[in-house]
Symmetry: D2
Subunit: 385 residues, 4 copies
């Protein structure tokens, strides 16, 4: 005698969609054991994105294992997984990390109200949304578009250009494709710059010529990679010697920068471990001057003054004089162009100085930060750059 008719069916887990990435090791009822696949032709693995179906009203227990050998094991303690049922609002699910279990296990618990729940390392930003973003921006007054180049999967490197000023400002994001917060930030920045009412955007367009690459790595994005492109290249280690074979994305962007020059550059990223928003500069480049360094420090101070979602206490250690890695874009652009160049890092976790229990760091906060970074740029320019 069995009670099989009373056993709820096992859940199902899928990832065959834009930026989907998971390996299902086993499923038992509403419990699953999962692993994160590597980026293609690369050892990096950290980004996950999958859909669970068939669990309405049941508590899911999702165990992602073997994380001590993931790209950033320090990313898991204190991290809570992102979850959405309507694919619009992304909250956080209760998550717990045990470094000792099963090679390092993140256990996610969540009871969906409906039969479909989407989980991701951070709220995904699909290529379809990317195309919407680029097309809407390109249709705004005074904005032009150009394709800087073509990726190895045949996608375009999309660049939006606007503004009548002479300061050459380059904003670029998602060299590391799993850092989807970077493109959410771009939405906020583009909204500010194309809003006909926003005085920040309007004043910046008088002073600057903007070159905006919302997604430097569409192949990695669509493939569900954390850090690399279609052939496993970490683009942010290619800026000294980009190649058509390994890093056509960087080659295309750097060539375009060579043509315009660069006065100010921001490379937008996410950081797995540090629960804060911070900047990294170009300390240690061969042609470092305190004058140039001060420009960057001044920008950083302005941004810190303007928003409680930015801080300077936490962040990366700086390179010693002469030791900067010129294969990284921020260093390369400071060295190559004398640009005030910087890397913006947003958390996968939260800003622990102003935590949000429901959403943690979120797409909405990325968008707001986008405007605040631009407003800081205007204040910085007004002070005499």
């Amino acid at each position: 005698m069995t009670s099989s008719q009373n056993t709820p069916p096992a859940i199902r887990i899928d990832s065959q969609f834009d930026s989907g990435n998971i390996e299902v090791l086993s499923v038992d009822g509403a419990t699953a054991r999962l692993a994160i696949p590597h980026d293609h032709m690369s050892e990096f693995r950290q980004w996950f994105h999958f859909r669970v179906s068939g669990a309405a009203g049941r508590e899911l227990v999702l165990k992602i294992v073997d994380l001590e050998t993931s790209a950033y094991p320090a990313g898991w303690p204190g991290y809570r997984a992102c979850v959405s049922e309507d694919r619009d609002f992304w909250g956080r699910a209760d998550s717990e990390y045990d470094a000792k279990a099963d090679g390092g296990t993140l256990t996610i618990r969540y009871t969906p109200a409906s039969d479909l729940a989407w989980f991701a390392y951070f709220a995904p930003y699909s290529m379809e949304r990317h195309h919407d973003l680029v097309s809407e921006a390109a249709a705004s007054e005074g904005v032009s578009y150009r394709a800087l180049g073509t990726t190895l999967d045949g996608q375009t490197i999309d660049c939006l250009e606007l503004g009548e000023g002479d300061k050459q400002v380059w904003l670029y994001a998602r060299q590391h494709p799993g850092e989807s917060m970077a493109e959410w930030w771009m939405e906020g920045a583009l909204e500010c710059l194309t809003d006909p009412a926003d005085p920040i955007g309007r004043a910046l367009r008088q002073r600057c010529r903007f070159h905006i690459v919302p997604n430097c790595n569409p192949d990695g994005s669509r493939r569900g990679h954390l850090r690399t492109n279609a052939v496993g290249t970490n683009l942010n280690r290619e800026w000294e010697t980009p190649s058509a074979d390994k890093s056509p994305e960087v080659l295309a962007i750097r060539n375009a920068m060579d043509a315009t020059g660069v006065d100010f550059a921001m490379d937008v990223h996410g950081d797995e471990a540090i629960p804060a928003v911070f900047l990294a500069g170009f300390e240690g480049i061969p042609s470092w001057t305190d004058d140039l360094g001060d420009k960057y420090y001044r920008y950083r101070a302005i941004l810190e003054r303007r928003t409680p979602d930015f801080q300077t206490a936490k962040g990366y250690a700086v390179s010693k004089p002469g030791t900067a890695n010129l294969s990284m874009s921020t260093n390369q652009l400071a060295e190559r162009f004398g640009a005030c160049s910087m890397t913006l890092e947003m958390p996968f976790k939260d800003n622990d100085d102003l935590p949000d229990a429901e959403q943690g760091w979120s797409p909405e906060r990325c968008q707001i930060l986008g405007r605040d970074c631009l407003a800081s740029l205007l204040e910085w320019l007004d002070e005499g750059n």
Copy 2:
């Protein structure tokens, strides 16, 4: 001595995105010569979807050639290409077909206001939008979801279920993936059925159990196919003997139908040639009865009475007694279940009885027709089925 600096740059044409499909033969300034690639492992070719960049304010002249050997050459005379700059509103571009030029050439002329313009055989319906549709529906009161199976590309066959009645109603669309109007129709149908205020949806949910497959062929959809799945199978010729190798989509759906039975079925399609909305039935099945046929004719008459976007004068010739092709779903379901089964065909062109100069047949009209088809179902049921 050249004046090259005064020559506007050549446009660029891309198709590496969801359902993108074009071959660029040559580009000269704002003029391009294009061809439509075959579906993978198939001879069918008719669906196109591409983006043109760099043409703000210039007249594009896009020549798609070699169309006399496309799947439906009769689809080109009188057809106007779909175009969008914001990826939301889809209008029509001036288009002219010359059967004698270059193997059959459709010449599209359009002057975009902005630098990006998207062209397609019909307004595309991406897998991302599909997932939004399915997730939002699944989150509605009283709706459940189940995956009926898995495609050869690893995607799911998504099925939504709702209603407390005993009439088993199956609605399914996009067996032919390039007929994207079929999924726009699904949006309207699902909106009607999940709107807590709509009396049509509410009354139908009391009388019926709905099983809705908004997209039977996600692989073909994503790949930019006209008629086939990932291995070149025309799914609507697989209903007699579906197989896991060639047509797992049909196998999964038909198995699920076997489990529920089918009282009423609608298979939603688009037609390349005929400028009208029409239905095709199951004449010629072995177990034809006039009683069953009358049910179908009665439904058709109700729909004709209810909306000027449906008619019965134009359509397909009917099969002679005993000659119905049972590999097609409509015939198979009528034969297998005694279901009132039908194929809904919407035009790629327009409804010539009520033409719309700006949009032709459009996503918006598909959505409205979705509700009108359901309202007709309710009226049909109320008359005594």
Copy 3:
């Protein structure tokens, strides 16, 4: 020593806003005793609309007394009060009627989540929303506007005109201003007629010339009246001998009708007592013919077939031959123009054949019915009128 600091403050009740109407007899904590003021210069009283503040999380007990002498005491048994906290979604509050208590008491119980809750006899339709509706419609392709006249409070009688056909169709609403459902219906009707994609609206515009008065009684609307204008006139008893002094609204509309003629007319209303949607015709007019009557019965049958939110079992008794009240618009228009003329009645309560526990009859259902009434008009015309 008292514990007064622990007593929650009394709630506050206000009604000094568009269509506000209540008299506060007493307030004690979260309980209030209320009465409904008469329409100005009239004995009618039934419409209420007020705001309660200061009750977040507390159960309100609102007793509206003396209702046995209200205009329609039969309106209270089975009625549930409309309530909204965001002024967008209108639900229903638990309500109970006791004819014997305090001259007839409706006790409303509701626990608002926030400090502001709005209560009304039906979801209000403000003059501001009216102006939005009229301006948006007037801005649509092919729509013109004219003011038919001026009310005694100096407001305009707004009329929208559209369509290229020769059938003269007049749609008019809110002669009785407290029947706000009538203007919600108008929103749905105007949406259908101005939607460039809707085949119903498009086909009707080919066949008809529409004259639409979304609000015949703006003074009563703004003043919070149930049935009368600024000087206490029941406009729907003025159609035989309208006057500039008592009923300039009717005089203006009837004059405009005289100029165009009327083929089809619908006067949109709400009914206090009957929990159903129904039509009333023009039986008993002097020039009654069965032919004209049949036109009306045929329309009614079509509408009944098309939507479960309409029925013919419940409704008003018909007048005997020769006894029709020609001061009512429906009778007057049938008599005067030989028009197929009718009064549409929607419930303040619900459609008991398809009840909605959460919202009862709602603005959303009014809007949907607006389209279904127009679709029925098209079907009626197509049958040979």
Copy 4:
């Protein structure tokens, strides 16, 4: 024989709606001669708001005369009238002022595309929108509502309260009801404070207790006044000795302030003449200290740094020591509470440092400034207040 049937009909001008205010002196075809009525029981006149109908495609010539004796004749040179056809987007109409014509004439020229066009001194903010704003804010997490008092027309003085900090911050607007930009500013401020993602709002709510009165003068607002309440009182001259008879609004608000104390106060206004955004302080109050003054100057400097839509070059002359008018709220609150108190002035014209040809100063810019003022408050607090 005349060709009168070819003369287009005269336009019609109406103002019987929320905040409507105009006198029609004469109309001839599409030209009208107009005057601005005084506020009730007051000599102030400057606010106008009216609707023109019947002019689709014709150039309107609207002459508002006798403006040299309006409240602020300096408001007319350089001013362009606000106009909207959809009541959502407010642009500017070509306008020219001739001080010598007809006692001072503003000639507005505009060709509406549709039959209805709305003109106003600034984009109106209706009481209906006010109630939407207040109800939506009150429904937000952690926001409470209280009515501070009742106006002479029986409306409520609505106050929203939020925040867990101990700094008492009062924001209040529309003492002068025709300065509708003040309530648009409030929309932006409330959006910032209630947005669960905005770090500015979130951090401010930790530090402050906000008391927000979006509209101090609902009677004047509804009546279409420029500067006074229902009995002609200029509320911003009542703060020393408010009375229940003349200024119950101020009495209610000041009493509430006495109960909470005030640390920071902003009184939001519009200025007729000066084409800039500026602040006015409390120089000249008896208990002036440079310390308190510096707080205000510091806030002003922060705001100037943060947005190009604020400046300090243009503005009002400051009072000499001991000569401050304590009947004005800003002075009264600084004197009474030692508050850092200020008056924010936005233009009816434009910010001439960053002009917008299409919209001039606009509702959208008011909203953005609302957030920027709050962000400045946070920066000001962080510096050590």
